[in-house]
Amino acid sequence: MRREPGLYDEPEFFGARQGLIVLTDQGLRLRLFQTRPIPLEVDLECRPGKLLALVGPSGSGKSTILRCIAGLYRPATGHIRCAGATWLDTGAGIDLPPQTRKAGLVFQDFALFPHLNVQQNIEIAVNPGFTKSGRAEKALQFLEHVNLAGLEKRFPHTLSGGQKQRVALARALAREPAILLLDEPFSAVDQVTRRKLKLQTLQLTRGLNIPIVLVTHDLEEASMLADTMCVLHAGKTLQSGKPAELFERPESTLVARLVDVRNLFPARVEAQLPGLEATRLECSGLRIEAAYHPGYLEGDDVYWSIPASSLLLHSRLRPSKGIRENPVEGRIFELIVIGGICTAVVRCECSRLDFTVELPVHVANRNRLRVGELIGFSILKKSVHIMPWEPPHGGSPRPQDSSDSTCNQNGWPDRRP
């Protein structure tokens, strides 16, 4: 029989014909819009087996989005498709209740049922199609899966925070959900347990072939766990991408600030040099060469950023590669060591810019970095990221107009304290 191309090549149709699992439509696809009472402008997707982290300051609508997916909050307009089914389509009047959405939700405070023991807490979410003993067996399986075997007869108030979190996870999984939603699942747990739990959660959820959406305000947590990270501000999804991509190439200064990019400076495009594959910036008297960024004109005001870990220290012991790229000299005026990483704030004396440099502690020690010392470093060309101009903090349209900060000779706000 002759195949009609076009038609059969449509993956959904082909999959349906073959009785295969339809891969294209198994994930989550979500669009939400409303202006009141909570503004929402959301466009997201997440494939099965992937973890999407929603990050943003508190009040940015992260939890509301999870509640929309679970069916606990109804947006003014929206469309949610998950696992090949439409859960919400305000246009068509479809709005499935939480009971039929098959979303496993781990609440921020876990919301365990206080009057039921651990086993009953999990059993209640097991498909009622099973027999009583079948449900009990399932519950015990899930309990073992989260490494809590032996605690089945305990009541929630006798459990530690980490144990409660895992019971909540087991309960969410017991439903055999089509999507797993985690609402700040580590925030109610102490620091030490948190690190362990993150690793465990990573292991437990990696085996699941469903989309996982994690809400967090902890950027480190998001970058550690997520395949895709999405930055939210005031209910709006600003940028989605791999965590590293967001830290290295934020689309706007707002995203850069939200993901805590510390080296973010205003500059002016001095020259576009496509032949040399370079864009040259003038920044407070410094001339910085970046990889070629098309789309900007000479004379444009822009912002540029560089990750704190991409600034290359000029070794005081032996010269290293790349020191000829954008060399800068400055004096260390702050030095903080946390968890094996040394963070130095270096004030560049000619331009009065403060750079944040991150180095492994052993490198900092070998180079005998101390507060007050003069060091040199290079701004690596390929790590310089340029983004469009935006007035800082909704204030003046151009830095020259800013009245609340003194300006240096280049017209940029003086960054000295």
């Binding site: 679970a70 069916g71 606990l72 209740p97 939480p98 009971q99 979303a103 496993g104 939700l105 609440f107 921020q108 405070d109 919301a111 365990l112 049922f113 206080p114 009057h115 209640i124 979410a125 498909n127 009622p128 009541f155 108030h157 006798t158 309960r171 969410a172 017991a174 439903r175």
Partner: protein
């Protein structure tokens, strides 16, 4: 000791509690977790019997249950008996009079269940009805039991409304409190004293039972 009055009081209190369990749960559950215009008004109406003099309440009940009222005449044409000065009338009066004692603890118990726990139940696939049976009702148990115990004790001791609506008919409307009043009026102090003592001990037992139960329950649930 007027045992007929005592057993009538027990019967009235039992029936009142049975009716209030249903009515109280309905009212409390439909008021809990909701914000709607006029909610304060409904709460005020439910709480009104707490502050209204029993005579005022009794007067209006007479008006609405009396032979000339639509309800009173309907019941009379159906059963051939009047609603006032009968056990049925007394029951209606007791239910209204004890409503706040049942509703308030139940309402408080429902509202103390965190919203997240109910949402977790829905997200675990439990329908609203199973959430009520398996989550809300057990968690509100202490409040429901206190509401029932308090309305039972309150009905055992009610006086003014019974006198207004029920009068003093032996084995029909003469409850313990009325009987005590009767005995005092006729200077039968010993009898009045023994009945008062029984009522006192009984009320004390009910109230302390409620407190003990609440403490044990919250200790088990909240640790």
């Amino acid at each position: 000791m007027d045992w007929t009055a005592f057993s009538l009081s027990l019967k009235l209190s039992g029936a009142t509690v049975a009716v209030l369990l249903i009515v109280g749960l309905l009212v409390a559950r439909s008021l809990a977790w909701r914000r709607f215009p006029g909610k304060s008004m409904i709460e005020a109406i439910v709480a009104l019997p707490l502050v209204l003099p029993p005579t005022v309440l009794g007067y209006y009940l007479l008006l609405f249950l009396g032979r000339r009222s639509p309800l009173g005449s309907a019941v009379e044409s159906l059963t051939g008996e009047t609603l006032v000065f009968s056990f049925g009338g007394l029951l209606i009066a007791s239910v209204i009079y004890s409503l706040p004692f049942a509703v308030q603890p139940m309402l408080q118990a429902f509202e103390s269940i965190p919203q997240g726990v109910r949402e977790a139940a829905w997200c675990s696939g439990l329908s609203k009805w199973s959430t009520f049976w398996r989550i809300e009702l057990p968690l509100a148990r202490a409040g429901i039991v206190s509401g029932m115990a308090l309305s039972f004790a309150h009905t055992m001791g009610e006086f003014g409304v019974v006198l207004m609506v029920g009068g003093n008919i032996p084995d029909e409307t003469r409850t313990v409190s009325i009987a005590i009043f009767d005995k005092v009026q006729s200077f039968e102090e010993a009898s009045a004293g023994s009945m008062s003592l029984v009522l006192l001990v009984f009320s004390l037992c009910v109230v302390s039972l409620v407190y003990t139960m609440n403490r044990n329950f919250s200790a088990r649930v909240r640790g």
